[in-house]
């Protein structure tokens, strides 16, 4: 275990020793991977000492900036779960793993794990978030969509750390929602998950973004054709139904596994999309 004295120190160490050295924040994924024998890092670089420095959630020049070490329970104490526009964060938190894990798990870690069950990724996709990466060479900002290329695979160097998550503030007449369900209520992967961003103007869908745990690959992604179909149309159940029956199946390819069939997952994607859009709408109109 390497305990860096500062973030720069951590970056230096990673530059020299990655990928034999891996960063650990909350450890809620990496320690399980090690326990199962899936990875065998020689050294872990402990970032947990920097939580104080890197757990902020602030507004800067029309953008929301979140420090990568913000814990899930930490996010619950910020404006993110109160601002009508970003209530999707409250939804993710409510179904995140279990309350016992929320103080350890970090949003940066959720992105770093990069699987379809990384719920923050799904939500951040509909906020068109970007990620700031830092290394000894400096920093760079990359769209989240480009950062995660495949299951557990990020387009970043082993010596880079996820530093911040950034997205533009949404307009007032918009909101977000996230839906997840499974056979039981908590400690679940979710049969499917769906995040939506919706902007309404006089009952017309001004802008909409819809992301799922999986669209056609093994990572969270957006259903862009479905979004296009909905844009500009009047918000109604019929329109939504048309969108998910006629357009969504053209871009979504679900897989069957021992937990659920492709057919069920596709159908539930439709239901979750509808419910998430309805929820976002009701939030825009003043409810919760």
């Amino acid at each position: 275990m390497y305990i860096p004295k500062s973030i720069d120190d951590a970056l230096e160490y990673l530059d020299k020793h990655a990928p034999d050295a891996l960063p650990i924040a909350g450890g809620t994924d990496i320690l399980i991977q090690i326990r199962e024998g899936k990875i065998r890092p020689k050294v872990l670089v402990d970032l947990s000492g920097f939580r104080n420095k890197l757990s902020y959630v602030k507004r800067v020049n029309g953008k929301v900036v979140i420090g990568a070490l913000a814990s899930v329970s930490g996010l619950d104490e910020t404006f993110l779960v109160k601002d009508k526009r970003y209530l999707g964060f409250a939804d993710v938190s409510a179904k995140f793993a279990s309350p016992v894990l929320k103080a350890l798990a970090t949003i940066g870690g959720n992105i770093g794990v990069a699987v379809s069950a990384s719920d923050y990724v799904t939500l951040l996709h509909v906020l068109e978030a970007q990620v700031k990466l830092v290394s000894v060479k400096g920093e760079r900002i990359v769209p989240l969509e480009k950062l995660i290329v495949e299951k557990r695979t990020l387009a970043k160097e082993p010596n880079e750390l996820i530093y911040e998550i950034i997205f533009s503030e949404s307009p007032e007449n918009s909101s977000t929602a996230f839906m997840k369900f499974d056979r039981r209520e908590m400690i679940i992967t979710g049969y499917v998950t769906c995040a939506t961003y919706l902007q309404l103007e006089n009952g017309i869908i001004r802008d909409v973004r819809i992301a799922f745990d999986r669209v056609s690959g093994r990572i969270p992604g957006r259903a862009k054709k479905t979004e296009e179909f909905l844009k500009g149309k009047e918000f109604s159940l019929d329109v939504i139904r048309q969108a998910y029956n006629e357009v969504l199946p053209t871009e979504m390819k679900r897989k069957s596994d021992y937990r659920a069939s492709a057919e069920y997952r596709l159908d539930m994607s439709k239901v979750m999309m509808k419910r998430a859009l309805l929820k976002a709408k009701s939030r825009i109109e003043g409810g919760v």
Binding site: F181, D182, R183, R184, E185, M186, I187, I188, T189, Y191, R241, Y244, N245, Y258, A260, S261, E263, Y264, D267, M268, K270, V271
Partner: protein, 792 residues
């Protein structure tokens, strides 16, 4: 029932007849161990490891394939790893390499074959667990893979349940069918001819994992005389001792099994202690150091027994007025790689296979077969939850066909006092089933809800369903059924209670204390429970089969009764009144007719010592011998039955298929409520475990016999948010005259009826039936979609 009346039976019957007033029985009392547990001070098995300095750790190296022949095991490289003390294989077993509970079919360490992925090929004994696990990777086993069978229908087929051609899993036995039982009464062909309606169905249930929060653990300490003490989490210390002795080749007197409180059992720790105790003991004797075996959760899931999955085909026939004429069934249980308790599970399933009804013609036939899945054994209910899931849905199907209310149909057919069961057993008293149904129906407001739910629209639909159950108490024809306790009144007036019955949360020992306290007239605070220990606590039989209250309770009652007689005699002599006149309300003892004549409890006890009146008593009770005819299933399989009626209410989300259980009313006839807290907790806990069984739990194997979800993240047991809003227990006390004050068991009945009640409630809500467990949202949704009842 022709056996001569033993003294202990007479005592139990006398208490049932005579004692009508109770000062403690039926009250709410705190568990004897609640305080130590709430403070976090109670030591569970793994906690004992803290007390030992010189521990060695034992790591079990598991099979690479679910079915393969072993050509060679090479441990030489592993043994050279620094910190490894020894790598043990089958060659190092001093005694018999077998830990099977019923059949001698289960090697501790694999020697010619592995039959499931949890089979152990070697044990690494090392200075620390990390080294042990590392060294395991250096063990090389030459396997010759064999075809893996995960489907029991590859072993037998319906239409006679004959064994099919296949690569035998247990070639040494010559057959992969471990047991066959049946009920054959009357002539079902005739019965179906007399029927106006016939309903058929195929029902499937899944592997269920116990998921007790405390994984298996054993700590073995070598003794100076070459023996061993094993501290382990087991439900059956004397069984574990038998198995460990066998493996080590030692007499029972050199093997001591000590049982701390268990973190849950549910049947899963019935036979696994044979294995882990033997592993730890072997390591301790080889290294002459204390040895610790701790299973990780994943190991626990793939390593220990599960609930038998069932595939059953049922056919019920009834007259127009609802009277049952015939029941026919073929039942297949998958016992996995080893038999474990399989033969007994099958037997209990068959005994209960027609439900608690009067039926003139019955032919139910069942087999239990090996596969290369994880082996199946004891799990709360023991074959009964599977059967009840099938039978109670069949009854509802009949009700639908006949246009009858499901409650009315059942009332028409249930057994009552004076009726005979399908085995021909006369139950002349103690059948509280009708009362249970009536109480449940009333508490649930059945009839008005059925009316209300008959016409619903919208995405959320409510449903209400009922299921009946019966559960034979104790082990029936499985073996000699006895129990024993020791009650010792110490010279300072305190009381030591010793029994080999273990506690894994069910708290039945509390009930035993209450029986003793009730009879002796002494507060519970005077008692101390010694932990089960084969060297000091008597063999009470295994803590299984819902027998602790019925059997252990009787043993306790007998001991307390005899002590009380002696105390009465001495007190009567001192106080100059008759023994029947003595009232004991410790710390006071006095004559009822003249309370001024009194003596203190401690003085009475002291007097007994001086007079040479022994104040310790060994209480023993043996159940009447069960009678069972193999060819016909006729006889008296159990001495009494617990009955129950469960009404469940659900809400179904038609768009997702998700089912929420809103409310469950449980009405159990347990003869007499002894430990009211324990009884209520059983009703609640069994309901929640039953909800898991009904809606979300399923251990899945792939076609190579590997478990796909061996951890608590992928194997879903209910969380607090999945519990129903309300669980309402109501009690019926149709006393059984040979139970302690009439009491019967509840440990297992409390799960049997939950899944079928929920299944029937779901059918009520959505107008379609799902006949396989678990009833997942996907199954509900796709059923609705195929029937056109939902379209997105």
């Amino acid at each position: 029932m022709a056996s001569p009346q033993a003294e202990y039976v007479k005592i139990v019957e006398e208490m049932f007849e005579k004692k009508k007033e109770f000062w403690l029985i039926g009250q709410y009392v705190q568990r004897w161990d609640a305080l130590s547990k709430i403070l976090g001070k109670a030591k569970f098995t793994a906690d004992y490891a803290y007390l030992f300095k010189n521990l060695v750790y034992v790591y079990s190296v598991r099979a690479k394939y679910a079915h393969a022949r072993i050509k060679k095991i090479d441990v030489s490289e592993a043994e050279k790893v620094p910190g490894v003390l020894k790598v043990v294989t089958y060659k190092d077993i001093p005694g018999v390499n077998d830990v099977g509970y019923v059949l001698p079919d289960q090697p501790l360490l694999a020697y010619e074959k592995v039959r499931y992925i949890g089979d152990i090929v070697a044990l690494v004994i090392a200075e620390n667990p990390y080294i042990a696990e590392e060294a395991a990777e250096k063990i090389h086993v030459d396997y010759e893979p064999l075809p893996v069978i995960t489907n029991p229908l590859d072993i037998v087929s319906f239409g006679g349940l004959k064994e099919k051609e296949h690569t035998l899993i247990h070639d040494e036995r010559g057959s992969d069918v471990i047991a066959r039982f049946r009920i054959l009464k009357g002539d079902v062909k005739k019965g179906f001819e007399e029927a106006s309606v016939i309903v058929e169905g195929e029902y499937r249930t899944q592997f269920q994992e116990h998921a007790y929060l405390e994984p298996e653990v054993a700590l073995a300490i070598p003794e100076p005389d070459g023996g061993v003490t094993v501290i382990t989490s087991t439900q059956c210390p004397h069984e574990a001792r038998r198995a460990i002795s066998r493996v080590l080749g030692l007499p029972y007197t050199k093997v001591r099994v000590v049982v701390p409180p268990l973190g849950g059992g549910f049947g899963g720790k019935e036979d696994v202690a044979n294995e882990i105790g033997a592993k730890a003991a072997l390591a301790a004797l080889i290294t002459e150091r204390p040895a610790l075996v701790v299973h990780k959760r994943e190991e626990s899931i793939i390593g220990h027994s599960k609930r038998h999955p069932m595939i059953a085909r049922y056919k019920h026939g009834a007259k127009r007025d609802g009277t049952l004429t015939a029941v026919e069934a073929e039942i297949i249980l998958d016992t996995g790689a080893y038999a474990s308790l399989g033969p007994f599970v099958l037997w209990r399933a068959i005994v209960h296979s027609a439900g608690p009804y009067k039926i003139p013609h019955v032919h139910t036939e069942g087999v239990a077969v090996y596969t290369n899945n994880v082996y199946a054994g004891a799990f709360r209910g023991f074959g009964n939850p599977q059967i009840t899931f099938a039978v109670e849905q069949q009854m509802d199907k009949l009700a639908e066909e006949l246009g009858m209310d499901p409650v009315e149909l059942r009332l028409k057919n249930i057994i009552r006092n004076g009726d005979r069961t399908v085995h021909g057993q006369l139950l002349d008293h103690g059948v509280g089933l009708e009362e249970a149904i009536k109480k449940a129906v009333e508490a649930a407001d059945w009839f008005s809800k059925r009316k209300r739910y008959a016409s619903q629209t919208g995405t959320l639909r409510k449903g209400i369903g009922i299921a009946l159950l019966w559960h034979g108490n104790s082990i029936g024809a499985e073996g000699a059924d006895y129990s024993s306790v020791t009650l010792i009144i110490n010279r300072d007036g305190s009381i030591t209670f010793r029994t080999g019955l273990t506690d894994f949360g069910q708290g039945s020992t509390q009930g035993l204390l209450m029986i003793a306290a009730e009879i002796l007239g002494v507060p519970l605070s005077y008692f101390r429970v010694e932990q089960p220990d084969t060297s000091t606590t008597p063999d009470a039989g295994p803590t299984v089969a819902s027998r602790s209250t019925a059997m252990g309770g009787n043993a306790t009652l007998v001991a307390a009764y005899k002590l009380r007689q002696r105390l009465n005699q001495v007190a009567a002599d001192i106080l100059k009144c008759s023994p029947d006149d003595i009232e004991i309300h410790a710390p006071e003892v006095y004559c009822r007719s003249d309370p001024s004549r009194k003596i203190r409890w401690i003085d009475l006890v002291e007097e007994c010592f001086w007079r040479g009146v022994p104040l310790q008593e060994f209480g023993y009770y043996r159940a009447p011998k069960a009678v069972w005819e193999d060819e016909t299933g006729q006889g008296e399989p159990y001495f009494t039955y617990t009955f129950g009626a469960i009404v469940a209410e659900v809400t179904v989300d038609m768009e997702t298929g998700k089912v929420k259980v809103d409310r469950v009313v449980t009405a159990y006839d347990i003869g007499k409520v002894i430990n009211r807290v324990g009884a209520e907790l059983h009703a609640e806990g069994g309901t929640i475990q039953g909800i898991g069984y009904a809606l979300m739990e399923e251990l899945v194997h792939d076609q190579n016999g590997r478990v796909l979800n061996p951890n608590l993240y992928a194997y879903y047991i209910p969380t607090i948010m999945d519990a129903p809003g309300e669980i309402i227990p109501v009690w019926v006390e149709a006393g059984y005259r040979r139970g302690p004050f009439g009491a019967k068991g509840l440990g297992e009945p409390s799960i049997n009826g939950i899944a079928p009640a929920i299944a029937n409630a779901i059918a009520n809500a959505i107008g379609a039936r799902i006949t396989s467990l678990p009833i997942t949202p996907e199954k509900v949704y796709l059923t609705l979609k195929r029937l056109g009842k939902i379209s997105l």
